[in-house]
């Protein structure tokens, strides 16, 4: 096993060759820490690390830095998402140092959805860095112990760096090359957008293997349950980058409304089982928007339990 670079438990799981499971925590619209702990408790039993999203979909919630502060305090293993939409390089570098000081070891560097997607479309979009330059900046802090400006750090942070990718959005031939950029810039692991189209994913992975990237980066495939045919239709028209094939919507619509949530969960379990078989897939990333109670069932029914306890 290669030496660990960060002390991250997620890194440990991945490098030891085990199939990893991460899950997304939906940050509360609340100033009460308990609302974070309640959600973390459900997830931590069944996954190796918990993603703290950074105003995903450009909707304001408790910040990822705040959620991570609470999670590390209680001994959980967070993946801190950092988006380029809301902060410039000065704020981001500062947050990365602060996060490392709190015990955050996993950082997911993403571009971020446009402000138009969220509840404050009148906000100023920042995008001073992009996901690739953010990755390289984070690596610079950790490996060279320097800020972008060249100024030296006293104690550099140690990170296990992640990036997102969307194999399901055009331009398809460019996506693997863009992944190569991210790996080159410092990505150790990847969490993909929701996968509802396994053949498309398989094609993407073929190109990724041709570039030899599967040996340089751990790929965790994004999965999640659809609540109903109507919800699926809404998501695919309103959430940027999520592609849901007609066949899935037809299958959901084919069962009575009261059973659609169960069917959505079943589809998700099937997808987990299928992607697990693909060469180059190191884990899954479960995102269940407002359906946290389903995460444990999905992971259990997909045969991914038991997992090592997360709490220190």
């Amino acid at each position: 096993m290669a030496p660990l670079k960060s002390g991250s438990r997620l890194e440990h799981v991945l490098r030891s060759g085990r199939f990893a499971v991460t899950a997304e925590l939906n940050p509360p619209d609340s100033a009460d820490p308990q609302s974070v702990y309640e959600r973390a408790l459900v997830l931590s039993e069944v996954c190796d690390a918990i993603n703290a999203t950074d105003a995903s979909g450009a909707n304001v919630h408790m910040s990822s830095v705040g959620v991570c502060a609470l999670l590390t305090r209680a001994g959980y293993e967070p993946v801190m998402q950092v988006s380029c939409r809301d902060r410039n390089r000065i704020a981001i570098q500062g947050d990365l140092l602060g996060a490392a000081a709190m015990g955050v070891r996993n950082v997911l560097c993403i571009t971020g959805d446009g402000v138009q997607a969220g509840d404050q479309p009148d906000a100023k979009p920042v995008f001073d860095l992009d996901s690739v330059t953010l990755l390289r900046t984070a690596r610079l802090l950790g490996e060279e112990g320097r800020f972008l400006s060249g100024r030296q750090l006293d104690v550099p942070p140690r990170f296990f760096l992640g990036a997102a990718d969307n194999p399901f959005a055009p331009p398809f031939e460019f996506r693997p090359l863009r992944l190569a950029k991210k790996v080159e810039a410092g990505a150790d692991f990847i969490q993909t957008q929701y996968c509802f189209d396994v053949p498309r994913l398989a094609e993407y992975l073929r190109a990724v293997r041709d570039l030899g990237l599967h040996e340089r980066v751990f790929i965790l495939v994004g999965v999640g349950p659809l609540r109903s045919a109507r919800a699926a239709e809404w998501i695919r028209t309103h959430v940027p980058g999520v592609v849901i094939p007609d066949a899935i919507i037809r299958r959901l619509a084919g069962v009575p409304a009261a059973r659609q949530q169960e069917e959505g969960k079943d589809i998700c379990v099937e997808i987990v089982r299928q992607v697990r078989e693909l060469e180059g897939v190191s884990g899954v990333h479960v995102m269940a928007f407002r359906q946290e109670q389903l995460v444990a069932r999905i992971i259990e029914e997909a045969g991914l339990l038991p997992r090592q306890p997360q709490k220190r």
Binding site: S131, R136, G150, D165, A169, P170, K181
Partner: protein, 168 residues
């Protein structure tokens, strides 16, 4: 006489005509290289801040504005972006498309427009020499160079084209 919106639409149509020059990108790539070579000859005249440099900036604003919808970022990277200006992407992404590109190839932010990076990728496949530059990792933008001439910066201010600690 046309009223104002109509005039603007008219000017828009004229500009669109020039934008058509972006296909095929080979022609532009060649034109760009010729201009760069010519400017390199008179390098010494183009001191940043001089009248000559301001004149070059003006020609860039007008010429590249008409063809590429140039936003005068001061650090031209058209070779690495399929001769498609990355600053016209609503997120100003210089290293490739975001994850929000729509299934029809349109932009997440402006659904009525084609994604800048879908065009950039497509054009990079049809470039003559530098098409593979699209794989390069570009540094974050130096915002202090906004509104200055990218040609002049390229000749005289290389050290400002990436943050100091950026690997070169």
């Amino acid at each position: 006489m046309l009223d104002r919106p109509a005039r603007r639409a008219h000017a828009g149509a004229r500009l669109q005509l020039l934008r058509g020059l972006q296909d095929p990108p080979r022609l532009l790539e060649a034109a760009y290289d010729v201009t760069a070579a010519a400017l390199r000859r008179v390098r010494r005249l183009l001191v940043p801040g001089s009248g000559a440099a301001r004149f070059v900036a003006w020609t860039e604003r007008v010429g590249k504005g008409a063809i590429f919808d140039c936003r005068m970022c001061g650090q031209c990277v058209l070779h690495a972006t399929g001769m498609t200006c990355p600053m016209t992407c609503p997120k100003q992404l210089r290293n490739g498309p975001c994850g929000g590109v729509r299934a029809d190839g349109h932009c997440e932010v402006h659904p009525e427009r084609c994604c800048v990076w879908v065009q950039a990728w497509d054009r990079s496949r049809r470039m003559r020499a530098c098409g593979e530059d699209v794989r390069q990792i570009l540094p974050p933008l130096n915002h202090s160079l906004h509104d200055t001439s990218a040609w002049v910066n390229d000749l005289h201010r290389q050290e400002l084209l990436a943050p100091r600690a950026w690997p070169r």
